[in-house]
C-alpha cells in the first residue's frame, strides 16, 4: 500500500516536471551483450549515445534535498546533481562560472558583480533570474532558517539585483573566500517564497536547475534522478541515476560483485586484494586520486608536556608516516606535510619535512631535557615520566590502527602513549570542546580555498571553537588575515606558503597522511576522466555505448 501511495506521488511530481524532464520514449530495443569489453572496433572511439542507468551505492540516506538545511554528504551529493551555484570549481580546481557567465570584482575588492546566464530554466520550466539568487541569499541569512552555512554570508553588507540577469554583493571588508561561497545551491524563489522553508515539500521533492531532475525517493532504500533534457550545458548522456542506500560496506561490496551496483568507493583492502581478479578487471575500472582530507596527530599546546617545540618536532621525527600509510592504507595515500592537499595551487612543500629519524628525535628530546634518569625505559624530566593519552573517535578503524603503530614507535624512544577511543559526540563535547585531552588523532576535510582562519587563528581558541589545540602565533594570525582579505592569487600564495613553513617548524600537529579516494566504476561507462577534482566533474559527459547498455527504460 505504501508503495502505491509513493508511486502515485511520484506520478504527480513527474507530471509537474514534464516540461523539462519529460522522457521522450526511446523505442530502440537495446541489445544487451553482457559485459563484453570489445564493444568498439579497435582504435575507434564510439560517438556517445544516450541511455542507461547508473546505480550508485551509499552507506547513508540523504536527509534533506534543500542543501542549505542539510549537512550530510549524501544530501549534498544528490543535491549536487539537481542544483547549480553561481560558480563552481572546474576539474583543475579553478573557479569557473556555472549559473554566472562572468563576474567582476571592484578595484577595492569589496563588490562582486555576477552576470548570470540567460538560458537557464528551473525543472518546472520557470526561468531562472537574479531574483532567485537574492532570495537564496536572504533565506540563508534569515535567523529563522536552521542552516549551518550562514557564516560566510554574514560578511555581506549589501546584496542587490541590478537587472534580471545581474546580481551584486558588497562586503564590508574584502573577503577572499567570498567568491567560492557563491557556489552554494541557488533555490527557486517562485516555489519557496513566503513559506516556512523547513516545511517545504522541496525537502523531499527538489526542483533545481541542474543536469538531473528529481524522480523518486524511497526513504532508506533509494533515490532516483532522471536526466534533464533541457540542461543548459547539454542533456546528460546517462538517462537515470539511481542512488541505493546500503548501510553495510560488506553487503555493498557483495552487491557490486553480483553486478547490481555500478559505482562505489572501495576500502584499501577491497581495492588492493579483493578486486584484482580477471572478472573484476573486465567488468570494472578502478580509479584513485587524493581525497580532500587529511589525518593528523594534534597536541594540546596548553599541556606543559607539549609546550616545547623541540618535543613536538621530536615526536614528528619518531613517527614513521610512510609506515602508517603502508600498514593502514595499504599504500593508498600520501604523507601530509601541512594542512593542504598536495595538488592545489596553494600547496607548498616546507623546508622541514619530518622523515622518520628516531636518532634525531632522541637528540631533540635530550636537548629539551628529557632523559631516562631512573632507568625504567621511559624518558623523564623533573621526576615526571613522558607518558600521555591519545584519544580518537570510535567508528574510524584507520585512526585506531594508526594510533597503535604510533604507540609502538614512541615506545621505542622511551615515550609511553595510551590509547582511548570514545564515541563521537561524547568525544567532541566532553573532551575536545572542554580541551580535556593531551593528544588526538582526527582529520579535517580540506576545501578548495586555502582560507583556514577558523582552525589556526588565535582568536578561535575559545571553548567549542576549532583551534582547540590552542595554537597561537602572531605571524600566522597576520598571514591568515592578509590571505583572506585579498583576491590576488599570487599574493595569497605567498602568504599561505609562509604559513605552511611556520606550521612545519612549530609542529602543532604531526601531519600524518592524505588518504586516496578509491572508486570503482562499471567498465561500460565511458568518458570517466580522473582529475584533481575527482572523477565526477564531467559526469554529464559519461556515456554507455549502445551495445553495452544494461538498463532499458
Amino acid at each position: 500500500m505504501k508503495k502505491k501511495v509513493l508511486s502515485a506521488l511520484t506520478g504527480i511530481v513527474l507530471f509537474v516536471l514534464i516540461a523539462a524532464c519529460g522522457q521522450t520514449p526511446e523505442a530502440e530495443t537495446k541489445a544487451k551483450t553482457a559485459h563484453s569489453s570489445a564493444e568498439t572496433p579497435a582504435g575507434k572511439i564510439a560517438e556517445p549515445v544516450y541511455g542507461d542507468t547508473i546505480v550508485v551505492g551509499s552507506i547513508g540516506d540523504a536527509s534533506n534535498l534543500i542543501p542549505l538545511l542539510a549537512s550530510d554528504s549524501p544530501s549534498h551529493q544528490i543535491a549536487g546533481y539537481i542544483y547549480n551555484g553561481l560558480v563552481r570549481y572546474d576539474k583543475n580546481l579553478k573557479l569557473e562560472g556555472e549559473l554566472a557567465e562572468s563576474w567582476e570584482i571592484s578595484a577595492d575588492g569589496l563588490t562582486i558583480t555576477f552576470h548570470l546566464r540567460r538560458d537557464v530554466h528551473w525543472h518546472d520550466g520557470s526561468p531562472f533570474t537574479a531574483d532567485d539568487v537574492l532570495f537564496t541569499y536572504r533565506t540563508i541569512i534569515d535567523p529563522k532558517t536552521p542552516t549551518a552555512y550562514a557564516g560566510d554570508f554574514e560578511q555581506v553588507k549589501e546584496a542587490r539585483v541590478l537587472d534580471p540577469y545581474t546580481f551584486q554583493v558588497t562586503y564590508a571588508v574584502p573577503f577572499a573566500p567570498a567568491l567560492s561561497s557563491w557556489g552554494l545551491a541557488i533555490l527557486p524563489k517562485h516555489l519557496l517564497e513566503g513559506q516556512d522553508i523547513t516545511k517545504s515539500p522541496l525537502s523531499r521533492q527538489p526542483v533545481g536547475t541542474g543536469p538531473f531532475c528529481f524522480s523518486q525517493w524511497l526513504g532508506g532504500e533509494k533515490i532516483e534522478l532522471v536526466a534533464n533534457h533541457d540542461y543548459f550545458e547539454g542533456r546528460p548522456y546517462i538517462d537515470r541515476y539511481r542512488y541505493r542506500i546500503i548501510p553495510d560496506t560488506a553487503t555493498m561490496f557483495l552487491e557490486l560483485k553480483a553486478g547490481n551496483l555500478d559505482w562505489m568507493g572501495l576500502t584499501p583492502i577491497q581495492y588492493d586484494r579483493q578486486t584484482d581478479g580477471k572478472k573484476f578487471a573486465e567488468q570494472f575500472n578502478k580509479y584513485r586520486y587524493l581525497s580532500f582530507s587529511y589525518t593528523y596527530l594534534g597536541y594540546n599546546l596548553l599541556n606543559p608536556l607539549f609546550q616545547d617545540k623541540r618535543v613536538r618536532q621530536a615526536l614528528s621525527y619518531a613517527i614513521n608516516k610512510q609506515e602508517i600509510i603502508d600498514g593502514v592504507l595499504l599504500g593508498y595515500g600520501q604523507v601530509a606535510t601541512g594542512p593542504y592537499k598536495p595538488d592545489t595551487w596553494f600547496y607548498h612543500v616546507p623546508e622541514k619535512t619530518y622523515l622518520y629519524d628516531p636518532e634525531k628525535a632522541k637528540k631533540l628530546l635530550q636537548d629539551a631535557g628529557w632523559t631516562d634518569r631512573d632507568n625504567d625505559g621511559l624518558l623523564d624530566k623533573d621526576g615526571r615520566p613522558f607518558s600521555f593519552t591519545l584519544m580518537t573517535n570510535q567508528g574510524n578503524a584507520l585512526r585506531a590502527q594508526a594510533a597503535v603503530i604510533i604507540q609502538r614507535r614512541l615506545q621505542e624512544i622511551g615515550i609511553e602513549m595510551k590509547i582511548r577511543i570514545i564515541e563521537w559526540s561524547a568525544f567532541i563535547n566532553e573532551f575536545i570542546d572542554k580541551k580535556k585531552f593531551e593528544a588526538v588523532i582526527l582529520g579535517w576535510t580540506t576545501g578548495q580555498d586555502p582560507d583556514i582562519y577558523d582552525i589556526w587563528h588565535s582568536s578561535k581558541t575559545d571553548a567549542k571553537e576549532l583551534n582547540f589545540i590552542s595554537f597561537t602565533n602572531p605571524e600566522v594570525d597576520l598571514l591568515l588575515e592578509k590571505g583572506r582579505h585579498t583576491f590576488d592569487q599570487q599574493e595569497r600564495q605567498q602568504y599561505y606558503a609562509r604559513f605552511q613553513e611556520i606550521l612545519a617548524e612549530e609542529q602543532p600537529y604531526t601531519f600524518l597522511y592524505v588518504p586516496e579516494s578509491l572508486p570503482i566504476i562499471a567498465s561500460r561507462f565511458h568518458g570517466v576522466e580522473p582529475a584533481p577534482a575527482g572523477i565526477s566533474h564531467n559526469f554529464i559527459k559519461w556515456h554507455v555505448p549502445q551495445a553495452l547498455q544494461k538498463y532499458t527504460q
Binding site: 508503495k3 534533506n64 549537512s71 525537502s203 541505493r244 559526540s425
Partner: protein, 327 residues
C-alpha cells in the same frame, strides 16, 4: 474480572509516565546535542549559527519545561517533529518504517513457532536420544552464530555464487510497477534471507523453553494415568500434555509483542532494509530526541499492552491470580 483489567489499565498510566520521564532524563544526560552533527568541527558554523539552531529546536529551554511540553503534545497524540535535517513529523517517519519491520519480525516469529514447538516437543519426548542431541546442537548453533556472519555467508552463497536470491534491499527496480504477483514474489524473494537469519537466532530460546515445559508436564501424574488407561502415545502427548505445556508459551508470545516493533539493527543494516531498528539506531547516534522518544513511547505502550494481555490470559486460565489481590 473487569475490575481486575480496569485496575491493570489504570496502573499503566503512571508507569508510562515514569518510563518516559526516565527515558527523557537519561537521553538528555548523554553528552551531545542534536545540532552537533551540523555544527561540530564545521568551520562555517559560528557561535551565532549554533545558538540560532538551538533556539530553532527549543534546546534553549530548561529540561523540565521541555519534558512538560513534550508530554502535552503526546497527550494530544502528537509525537512532534524529528530534529533530523528532514524536519518531518516523527509519526510519519515511524509509520513509514513500522510495516516492514513488523512484517519481518512477525514472519520470523511465525517461523520460530512453527519450527521451535515441534523441535521442543520432539526433544522432550525423546529426551537424551541422538535426535535430541542433534537438535540441541542445531538450535544452539543458531543461538551462538553471529547474525552478521551468517547473513554474509548466505548472501555470498545465494546472492553472488548461485545468483538465486537478491542480496539486499526490499524490491527490485524492475518489479516496482509490475502486477501484483510479480511484486509479491519479488518481495518474498527479498524477505527470505532476512527472515531466515533472524528466525535462526531466535530458535534456541523458544525450543528449549518448550522442551523443558514438556518434560515437566509428561512427568505429571495425569499423564501417567492417561498412559495407564491405555491411550495411544500420540494422543497422550498431542492432546493432554501439549495443551498444558503450551500455556506458558502463550504468555511468552505476549511479551514478544514489543519485540515485533523494536526490530533488529544488525540484520536491517546488513540487508539494507529500511526498518525501525536502523532508524532508531540512527536517531540515537544523531541525538534526535523526538524520534527517540516517539519510538520509545510506542515500544513502552506495546510492552505494557503485551504484559496486560499476558496477565489477562493468565487470569483467564488460573482464577487464583485474579483473587490473589484480595487476600
Amino acid at each position: 474480572m473487569i475490575v481486575f483489567i480496569g485496575k491493570r489499565i489504570a496502573l499503566m498510566v503512571p508507569m508510562l509516565v515514569g518510563i518516559t520521564m526516565i527515558s527523557f532524563l537519561v537521553m538528555n544526560l548523554a553528552p551531545g546535542e542534536p545540532i552537533d552533527l551540523l555544527t561540530n568541527l564545521n568551520p562555517k558554523a559560528t557561535a551565532e549559527v549554533r545558538e540560532r539552531l538551538r533556539i530553532h529546536y527549543g534546546l534553549d529551554k530548561p529540561l523540565p519545561i521541555r519534558y512538560v511540553n513534550w508530554l502535552k503534545r503526546v497527550v494530544r497524540l502528537d509525537l512532534g517533529t524529528s530534529f533530523a535535517q528532514d524536519n518531518r513529523p516523527v509519526w510519519d517517519k515511524i509509520r513509514e518504517r513500522i510495516p516492514i519491520t513488523l512484517t519481518i519480525n512477525a514472519l520470523s516469529l511465525l517461523l520460530i513457532i512453527i519450527a521451535a514447538l515441534p523441535i521442543g516437543i520432539f526433544s522432550a519426548v525423546r529426551q537424551h536420544s541422538l535426535w535430541d542431541r542433534l537438535l540441541t546442537i542445531f538450535v544452539f548453533l543458531g543461538f551462538a552464530t553471529p547474525t552478521f556472519w551468517l547473513a554474509l555467508l548466505l548472501m555470498i552463497l545465494f546472492g553472488v555464487h548461485l545468483g538465486w536470491l537478491p542480496i539486499s534491499g526490499l524490491q527490485s527496480p524492475h518489479a516496482a510497477d509490475a502486477g501484483f504477483w510479480i511484486v509479491f514474489i519479488d518481495r518474498a524473494r527479498h524477505l527470505l534471507l532476512p527472515v531466515l537469519v533472524s528466525a535462526f537466532g531466535g530458535l534456541a530460546g523458544l525450543s528449549r523453553y518448550m522442551r523443558s515445559n514438556m518434560l515437566e508436564v509428561i512427568r505429571q501424574d495425569y499423564i501417567t494415568t492417561a498412559r495407564a488407561k491405555g491411550l495411544k502415545e500420540s494422543v497422550v502427548i498431542g492432546k493432554h500434555a501439549l495443551r498444558n505445556a503450551l500455556m506458558p508459551i502463550i504468555t511468552i508470545l505476549g511479551f514478544s509483542l514489543p519485540g515485533l516493533i523494536g526490530g533488529s539493527v544488525i540484520f536491517e543494516t546488513i540487508f539494507a532494509i529500511p526498518g525501525m531498528g536502523q532508524m532508531f539506531y540512527g536517531a540515537v547516534m544523531a541525538r534526535d530526541y523526538p524520534l527517540i522518544m516517539g519510538t520509545l513511547v510506542i515500544g513502552a505502550v506495546l510492552t505494557l499492552v503485551g504484559n496486560l494481555l499476558a496477565d489477562i490470559s493468565y487470569a483467564l486460565v488460573d482464577p487464583r491470580i485474579r483473587v490473589g489481590h484480595h487476600e
